[in-house]
C-alpha cells in the first residue's frame, strides 16, 4: 500500500490548531536557528582571525612604570637579559603586539594638504629585530634597512621609510601600485618601501581592516618586549623572562593583563566572544531540544488519539511500515510548512539585527542548513511515537473506547 500525501494532508486539516502551532514553533525555531548559526559562525571566524605573526613561537611582556624617567639604558639592559634566556631566539622592543592594547593611532594623509585625516591607522614602532622576531611576511618591496630606524623620542618617529599592511595600502590607493607612495602625518612624510602580509592591529575589531603601518625607531614609548622561542619552551621562557625583568629592573612593573604567550593573549582578548559563542551554542541546543520535545508530545497525543483508526487500518491490511511512514510523512509536511514560513522570518529577524547591531546580511547558504537540521530533528523526534503507533495491534479495532 502506497502512502498518499493527500490523505495525510487531509487528516492534518482536522487538527488545524495543533498543526498550526507546531508549524509556527518550527518556523520560529528556523528563524532563530539560522540567525544564531550565522552569529556563531561570525564569532568563530573572528576568534580564529589571522594575526600575521607566528603566535605559537612568541611571548610578550608589557612593561609599565617605566614612565618618562626610565632611560633607554634600562630598556637595553632588559633586552640583553631577555636575550640571555635559554631557548630565546630573538628579542624585540616594540610599542605593541596583536591582542594587547591600542598603542599608536594617528590620522595619515595620502595628500599633503588634505584637511581630512581620512586614513586612521595604527602604527607599530619597533626596533630592527621586530620583523625577524614576530615573523611578519613580506608581500612586495623590501624590508627596512638597519640604517632606517629614526632615533627619535616623539610620538611617531620621523623615519623616512615604512612598511604597511597590504590590505591597508589597497584601501588607501585602490587599484594603484602602492610601493613608493607617500603618507603624511605629524609633519613628516614617509615612503612605503615594502608591503607586508596582513598584520593585525593590537586591538583587532570585527569589520575593521588591518590598518597597520610598521616603522622602525628607537622609541621609548614602546615598552613591550616580544620574545621568539620554540612552541614547547614558551611557558618556561615566560617565567624566566618575568624573573629576569624583576632582577634587572626591580622598579619596573610588568602588566600581567597584557603579558604571556601570544596564544594566551589571543584567548584573553577573545574571552567575551567565546562567552557569546558559548551562549549561542547553548541557545541553539536548548531550542532544538524544546522543539523536539514539543514534537514528541504532540505526536504521542495524536498516536494515542488515533489508536482506534490505526487498529482499523491495520485490520484492513496496512503494514507496520505504512503506519510508521504515515506519521513520518505527516511530520515532514508540518516541518516543511514551518521551514517555508521560517525562512521568511529568518530574513526579517536578520534585518532587525542588521539595523540594531551591525550584524552582516544573512547569507542564503544558512537556510538549507537550518532546514536540513529541522527536518532531521523532526524525523528523529517523531520516530518514537511513530514506532509506538506501528505497534498498535489490529485487534484494537474491535474494542470499543
Amino acid at each position: 500500500m502506497r502512502m498518499d500525501i493527500r490523505h495525510v494532508a487531509a487528516a492534518l486539516r482536522r487538527h488545524r490548531m495543533a498543526t498550526l502551532l507546531i508549524g509556527l514553533q518550527i518556523a520560529l525555531a528556523c528563524a532563530v536557528l539560522c540567525n544564531a548559526l550565522f552569529l556563531l559562525s561570525n564569532r568563530l571566524q573572528l576568534m580564529s582571525m589571522a594575526s600575521g605573526v607566528d603566535e605559537s613561537h612568541l611571548v610578550a611582556l608589557s612593561l609599565q612604570g617605566t614612565g618618562n624617567d626610565l632611560g633607554r639604558d634600562t630598556l637595553l639592559r632588559i633586552k640583553q637579559g631577555l636575550r640571555g634566556i635559554a631557548g630565546v631566539e630573538s628579542v624585540s622592543m616594540t610599542n605593541a603586539v596583536p591582542f594587547t592594547q591600542q598603542a599608536g593611532e594617528i590620522g595619515f594623509r595620502s595628500v599633503l594638504d588634505d584637511p581630512q585625516y581620512n586614513q586612521q591607522g595604527h602604527f607599530y614602532v619597533a626596533d630592527n629585530d621586530f620583523i625577524r622576531t614576530v615573523g611578519v611576511h613580506l608581500a612586495d618591496g623590501r624590508w627596512l634597512g638597519d640604517d632606517e630606524a629614526a632615533n627619535s623620542t616623539s610620538f611617531l618617529p620621523s623615519s623616512p621609510s615604512i612598511l604597511m599592511s597590504r590590505s591597508y595600502a589597497q584601501h588607501i590607493w585602490p587599484g594603484q601600485p602602492s610601493l613608493g607612495q607617500v603618507l603624511f602625518a605629524d609633519g613628516a612624510q614617509r615612503r612605503v618601501v615594502g608591503l607586508i602580509e596582513d598584520l593585525a592591529r593590537p586591538n583587532p575589531e570585527p569589520l575593521i581592516l588591518h590598518n597597520t603601518v610598521l616603522i622602525t625607531g628607537s622609541n621609548v614609548l614602546g615598552q613591550v618586549f616580544v620574545l621568539r622561542t620554540g612552541p614547547l619552551s614558551r611557558d618556561r621562557v615566560l617565567r624566566q623572562a618575568l624573573d629576569a625583568v624583576a632582577r634587572i629592573a626591580p622598579d619596573v612593573v610588568v602588566d600581567l593583563d597584557y603579558s604571556g604567550t601570544l596564544s594566551e593573549l589571543r584567548d584573553r582578548y577573545f574571552a567575551s566572544n567565546r562567552a557569546m559563542a558559548a551562549m549561542l551554542c547553548g541557545i541553539i541546543a536548548a531550542m532544538l531540544l524544546v522543539t523536539a520535545l514539543g514534537i514528541v508530545g504532540l505526536a504521542s497525543f495524536w498516536v494515542q488519539q488515533r489508536r482506534r483508526q490505526i487498529g482499523i487500518r491495520r485490520a484492513i491490511g496496512a503494514r507496520r511500515s505504512d503506519i510508521l511512514s504515515y506519521f513520518q510523512t505527516e511530520n515532514f509536511l508540518i516541518v516543511s510548512g514551518g521551514i517555508a514560513l521560517g525562512m521568511v522570518m529568518a530574513f526579517a529577524l536578520n534585518i532587525v539585527l542588521m539595523k540594531l547591531y551591525e550584524v552582516p546580511r544573512l547569507p542564503l547558504a544558512y537556510l538549507p542548513w537550518g532546514a536540513v537540521t529541522l527536518w532531521i530533528l523532526g524525523q528523529l523526534a517523531v520516530l518514537g511515537p511513530a514506532i509506538r503507533a506501528a505497534r498498535v495491534p489490529p485487534v484494537v479495532a474491535t474494542r470499543s473506547v
Partner: protein, 438 residues
C-alpha cells in the same frame, strides 16, 4: 472553588506526567534564559545615580585647532584650559573635573613589588556630587585642590589589600615617588556603569569595560599635574609634552556640572556659548561652535554603554521564550482536548463554560508556577555562569529579590497566556449527550 480547580489541576498534571514534565521544562528553560539575560540587561542599563542623575550634566566643546577634520560632534573630553576655565567659573551649583592617570604605588611592606594603578584625578566636589560613601575619613577639601595638597583617597578594596581593612586615614602612600597622605577610605561603592569616566563608547563593538569597578585611588587633579603623573589622553592634535599636560593640545579632562533648576540649566548653556565665542575671538578656538551639554543619562545613552552582546543575548533569549511558549500552547491544547470526554461529562453534569475555562487556566497557571520555580533555578545558575565570565561586569550579575518575584510572575503570566487559547477551545466542548452509552 479555586481550591477544587487546583485539586483537579494537580490530579490532571499527575495523570500525564510526561506531558506535564515537557511543559514545565519548556517554560522553565524559556523563563530561565530570558530572566538571566534580562537581569544582566537590567543591571547594566539602570541609573547609576538614582534621584540625582537628572541634575548632573556633561558639557562639551571643540577645542581642537588646526587643519584637522571638522568634527560632527565635540570630543568626549575637554582640553585642560577649557575644563579649568569652566570649572573655576563656579557657574554651576557644583562642578568637578575628572581625568585618568596611571600611577605607580610602592608597597607598604618592604620586599614587595610596586604596582601600577589606574587613578582618578578629580576635585573635591566629586564626592559630594556623586554621593560617594566613606568608611573612614572623608574627601579632601576645596582648599586642597588649590594648594595641590599631597592627599589621596583610596577604595575599600585597596585599603583591604594594603592595610588589611584597618583605618588607614593619616598614613602615607608612596605614589610615583611622592608621599601622599590618605585622608579618606571609601565604603563599598559600585556604580554601574562607572559613569564618571564613560568615554569612547559610541560605536565600539564591546563596551563592557565601561562597567569596571571604580578607581582604587583618587587624588586632586592639581596634585597629579604637579607630580607629572602619566595621564591618559583621549586624542591630541599637536605635539605633546607629557610633563606639561596642562598646556598640551589634547583632550583628556571631563567636566561634570550639577544644575539643579531649569533656570540654571539654560543659564549654563548660555554661559557655554559665550565662553566658546570669547575663546574664538581670542583666537584660541578656530572651529565653528560645537557645543553640547547632555544629562548624565543622555550621555550614557549616547555612549551606548550597554554592551551590544548583552542586548543581542536578550533578543535571542526572548525569541527562545516565544518558541517555548508556542510549545506550551501546543501541549496544553493537546492535553485539554485529550480530555474532551471528561469535559463533556462535567458539562453534562452542570459545569458552565466559564467553570471549564477557569479550571483549564488554573491548570495552566500551575504549570507556570512549577516552570517558574524551575526557571528561577536556571536563572540563578545562568547568572552564576555570567559571573564566571571574564567581563568587567561579571560581579554585578546577581539575582535581586525583585527580579525573583518577576521571574515567577512572568512564568505564571506566560503560561496563563499560553493556556488561554487551549482553555477557550476546551470550554467549547459540548456537553456529553451520549453519557448513557458508556
Amino acid at each position: 472553588m479555586f481550591g477544587y480547580y487546583l485539586d483537579l489541576a494537580l490530579r490532571s498534571l499527575k495523570r500525564n506526567r510526561v506531558l506535564t514534565a515537557l511543559m514545565v521544562i519548556a517554560i522553565a528553560v524559556g523563563i530561565g534564559t530570558s530572566m538571566t539575560t534580562l537581569t544582566v540587561m537590567y543591571l547594566l542599563s539602570g541609573d547609576p545615580l538614582p534621584g540625582r542623575s537628572e541634575h548632573i550634566f556633561y558639557p562639551q566643546l571643540d577645542a581642537e585647532t588646526g587643519k584637522g577634520m571638522v568634527r560632527s560632534r565635540p570630543a568626549d573630553l575637554l582640553d585642560y584650559p577649557s575644563a579649568r576655565d569652566l570649572w573655576s567659573s563656579g557657574k554651576a551649583d557644583r562642578q568637578t573635573m575628572t581625568a585618568e592617570a596611571l600611577v605607580k604605588i610602592q608597597p607598604v611592606e618592604a620586599g614587595r613589588h610596586p604596582s601600577m594603578i589606574d587613578t582618578l584625578t578629580t576635585t573635591s566636589a566629586f564626592f559630594s556630587m556623586f554621593n560617594v560613601p566613606f568608611r573612614y575619613g572623608g574627601p579632601w577639601q576645596p582648599a586642597d585642590d588649590e594648594a595641590r595638597s599631597r592627599t589621596v583617597v583610596i577604595s575599600e578594596r585597596l585599603n583591604q589589600q594594603l592595610f588589611a581593612g584597618a583605618n588607614s586615614v593619616g598614613r602615607t602612600l608612596r605614589v610615583d615617588s611622592n608621599d601622599l597622605r590618605i585622608v579618606g577610605v571609601l565604603d563599598h561603592w559600585r556604580p554601574s556603569p562607572r559613569f564618571y569616566m564613560v568615554v569612547g563608547g559610541h560605536g565600539a563593538s564591546d563596551t563592557s569595560d565601561l562597567y569596571k569597578p571604580p578607581h582604587d585611588l583618587m587624588l586632586p587633579l592639581s596634585t597629579a599635574l604637579d607630580l607629572h603623573s602619566q595621564f591618559s589622553w583621549f586624542s591630541c592634535w599637536g605635539n605633546v609634552d607629557p610633563k606639561n599636560m596642562a598646556a598640551a593640545a589634547c583632550e583628556w579632562v571631563g567636566l561634570w556640572v550639577q544644575l539643579d533648576t531649569p533656570a540654571t540649566r539654560s543659564a549654563y548653556r548660555d554661559y557655554l556659548r559665550d565662553y566658546d565665542a570669547q575663546q574664538r575671538s581670542l583666537g584660541r578656538f578656530d572651529h565653528p561652535p560645537n557645543i553640547r551639554m547632555m544629562s548624565l543619562m543622555q550621555w550614557l545613552d549616547f555612549n551606548q554603554v550597554v554592551p551590544k552582546d548583552v542586548q543581542l543575548q536578550t533578543w535571542l533569549a526572548f525569541g527562545f521564550l516565544v518558541i517555548c511558549l508556542c510549545n506550551t500552547v501546543g501541549l496544553l491544547l493537546v492535553k485539554f482536548l485529550g480530555r474532551s470526554g471528561e469535559i463533556g461529562v462535567r458539562r453534562a453534569m452542570g459545569a458552565s463554560r466559564s467553570d471549564i475555562f477557569m479550571q483549564c487556566l488554573v491548570e495552566a497557571g500551575a504549570v507556570g508556577l512549577l516552570g517558574g520555580i524551575g526557571g528561577l533555578l536556571l536563572a540563578w545558575f545562568g547568572l552564576w555562569l555570567v559571573r564566571q565570565q571574564k567581563v568587567a561586569y561579571a560581579d554585578l550579575a546577581q539575582l535581586d529579590p525583585m527580579l525573583l518575584l518577576v521571574t515567577v510572575a512572568m512564568a505564571i503570566l506566560a503560561s496563563l497566556l499560553a493556556g488561554l487559547l487551549p482553555a477557550v477551545r476546551a470550554s467549547r466542548v459540548p456537553p456529553a449527550l451520549q453519557i448513557k452509552v458508556s
